[in-house]
Symmetry: C2
Subunit: 214 residues, 2 copies
DNA sequence: TTTAAAAAAGGACATTTGTCTCGGTTGATA
DNA sequence: TATCAACCGAGACAAATGTCCTTTTTTAAA
């Protein structure tokens, strides 16, 4: 659920180091800041150097669906550059985020000049298709409880914690349903370790943080 | 829902025409034949020349989820070649299918030697991500009735018809729910045109066909 | 520390979806 | 044509989920 791509990140950092004059900058975003807005035009690609973002689609009925959480080395805006289209999703910082900003002209140049870059990009896009498809299938065909369990375990494994609102949006359900399933899962036991208590407690604090920063 | 990529197809056909010696063959699959099996290893890429296939994931709980219906020019097996992994999905012919079979060595060669090919491939992968994400969001956040309407309209637009089982698997629901929603939709009217009656009637025949061919 | 305001959690009910089952329909065969 | 079998559709009930509203908890201020 938290996607990363260290290969991509090191490529960019090496490229910056080796090309002083190059037109890549670093930007900082505060937690909560939405740095890409669905439907708008962009002319840059962002590569996350640090922090966690969420990439989500806002549907016309007012609901949000989180496509993915993005961590180190993940790219945003490359679909828009390749397809020359308006932004498909919103992207917002969940924690403090630092990102490389790459003009799309340079992005296209890299594709045409560096086969190493192209290979990395093909890998990245492939991984996304695989993950998106696998998840769509999983969430449609398994019970919520099962999906929730998986989500909690992932957070434990990756030592992160995500607000309840975001977890619900990721699962495509209401917060009410989320709470209900959470209770079921915890009642059945298995999650009364200090680690999980921490994750759940942190989930609440995340909300607070988001509010403070906006 | 029925994806096609005419650019890809013409590239391959032109490439074959211009390179007599090239190691690309044509294969035919009868309706119903599953030419790629989830979990197996493959060493070819398939490009559909004619006919319609379905690409689906079989989950461990016995349920299937249809990722996409693939028409002319769509590629299969390229993720597996790029990521060097076992097959993510099953792919089965729905109608009679003709496909170009391309060894993955040639596929990799094309990526490294032809920037035109690479561009087409990047476009294809991007389109897939966009479609998969958009659909996942839509199906999670809208009512079934809404999704069903969209699905029926698409079939009318593209002059195709798909079996009820497959439509249900595409929507990630049981056939029972599918029938229920279908009744709701038709009761509310708007679908009593001859065209839609045809589509629904054909849906039943599709099932019959599938059975005959296996 | 107490109190008021805001937010999160949970109860109650309605709606949706799945499972199991039965009855009617269709098609094949004698 | 009569009969059987397979299949499809839908009823009945159970389980899951959403919406709305009340209760509880948390936060902020006096």
């Amino acid at each position: 659920m938290l996607r990363t791509n260290l290969t991509f990140l090191s490529f960019i950092e090496r490229f910056c180091a080796e090309n002083d004059e190059v037109n890549i900058t670093l930007k900082n975003f505060k937690a909560g800041y939405r740095f890409i807005e669905q439907g708008e035009k962009i002319s840059n690609i962002y590569v996350i150097k640090d922090g966690i973002s969420k990439c989500f689609i806002s549907e016309e009925n007012g609901k949000d669906f989180i496509i993915e959480f993005l961590g180190k080395g993940e790219v945003v805006g490359e679909l828009e550059a390749i397809k020359k289209m308006d932004c498909l999703c919103n992207v917002a910082a969940i924690s403090e985020v630092t990102a490389y900003v790459i003009p799309d002209s340079l992005f296209h140049l890299l594709i045409s000049k560096s086969s190493e870059f192209t290979t990395i990009l093909l890998q990245e896009l492939s991984t996304r298709i695989i993950q998106t498809s696998t998840r769509a299938s999983f969430q449609q065909l398994y019970t919520l409880e099962y999906a929730l369990l998986k989500l909690l375990k992932l957070q434990a494994d990756e030592h992160i914690s995500i607000s309840k609102e975001d977890m619900a949006a990721y699962l495509g359900i209401s917060v009410r349903s989320f709470n209900r399933s959470l209770k079921q899962v915890t009642d059945k036991g298995g999650f009364d370790t200090p680690e999980f208590k921490n994750i759940l407690q942190l989930s609440n604090m995340k909300k607070l943080l988001e509010r403070l920063k906006t």
